[in-house]
Amino acid sequence: MGTLWTLFISFIQVGLFSVGGGYAAIPLIQEQVVQNHKLLTMAEFTDLITIAEMTPGPISINSATFVGQRVYGTLGAVVCTFGCILPSFIICLTLAYFYYKFRKFSGVQTVLGALRPAVVALIASAGLSILVLALFNTDFNNIVLSEFRGLEFALFIGGFIILRKYKVSAVSIILGTGIVGTILQMIINAI
């Protein structure tokens, strides 16, 4: 019971203090899980980050589930995940309430108007990071041109053209590139 409570409190803190999402949460999780409470070893934690990067879903939710499973089984995973989302839930619900109450005011609209182009830029930046990762398997500063991956480039262009021409869902494009790409890559590897 004491362990469950520790898990819950640790992940409430992860949820509450990881502003900015994604990688911002990693040092925080490390502090809670490895240093403060010794729930995972550093090697296990490194494994956790590797898995979290390879699999879908937010890093803090992935970590919460992983740590909970390792320490206290499925019940632990539920408790950690719940702790991690609790602050988000309360804070965002409050913000959503105020947003929908005040968003029609002209002053609020002006401020949001200046903010929206920036959000477009943030989305574009995230997209370019993933594209570079797909094409070179690294980030922009470490690109090696000879490492260029033609298969991923072809999948990217193909996916983009299909998206522009037809009304297909995001999921079918991602799943489609996954299936087609895996088969082609295995054929290439076999040759």
Partner: protein, 195 residues
């Protein structure tokens, strides 16, 4: 009808969450495609506002975005449904992996699939960004276009944190409001003096 909507919300957040590789803004573009372009549940500006709020609040961005999106579709119940949809896929996937970790790490097919799927994710984001960018340019407001370009360069090339970009733009917005207000006041005064 309402029940139908909740179910659709749950299924949509569930499937999108299962395919969200990469940072928080990936899910935002998937949400934009699903809820704005396909289902017409909310407009584009709203989706961008939700993204900004989700980014600036503590906690994982996809969860934050789901809370606000769910609230918009069906109040607090909608929030709960959307959050469940969002956390179930990573919960199940990670639970399975934590049990079969060694097998997972050494499986080549999984490694290949995860690598090639990034190309698909990048294509989806580019598609969404083209639509969004076009609309910013269509406003023909030079300030907005400059904000977009500068924010992109600052974020991608200089690794400026998204929070700083957002707060900086709120600052620009507030200054614009003040300038508008002063202009109006001035116009109002000159009108008064006529009378």
């Amino acid at each position: 009808m309402k029940k139908n909507r909740l179910w659709k919300l749950f299924i949509s957040t569930l499937t999108l969450s299962a395919f969200t590789f990469g940072g928080g803004f990936v899910i935002v573009s998937l949400y934009k495609k699903k809820f704005v372009e396909e289902l017409n549940w909310l407009d584009e500006d709203e989706m961008l506002d939700i993204s900004a709020i989700a980014q600036s609040s503590p906690g994982p961005i996809p969860v934050n975005a789901s809370v606000i999106l769910g609230y918009r579709i069906h109040g607090i119940l909608g929030s709960i449904v959307a959050v469940f949809g969002t956390i179930i896929p990573p919960f199940v996937i990670i639970s399975l992996i934590s049990i079969f970790y060694e097998e997972f790490k050494s499986n080549h097919v999984i490694a290949i699939a995860l690598q090639v799927m990034r190309a698909g994710v990048a294509a989806v984001i580019l598609d969404v960004v083209v639509n969004l960018g076009k609309n910013v340019i269509k406003t023909k407001k030079v300030l907005y276009i400059i904000v977009m370009i500068v924010a992109f360069i600052a974020t991608y090339f200089f690794h400026l944190g998204a929070m700083y970009t957002i707060f900086f733009c709120i600052g620009i917005g507030l200054i614009t409001v003040l300038l508008d207000y002063r202009k109006e006041k001035k116009n109002g005064n000159s009108m008064d003096s006529v009378h």
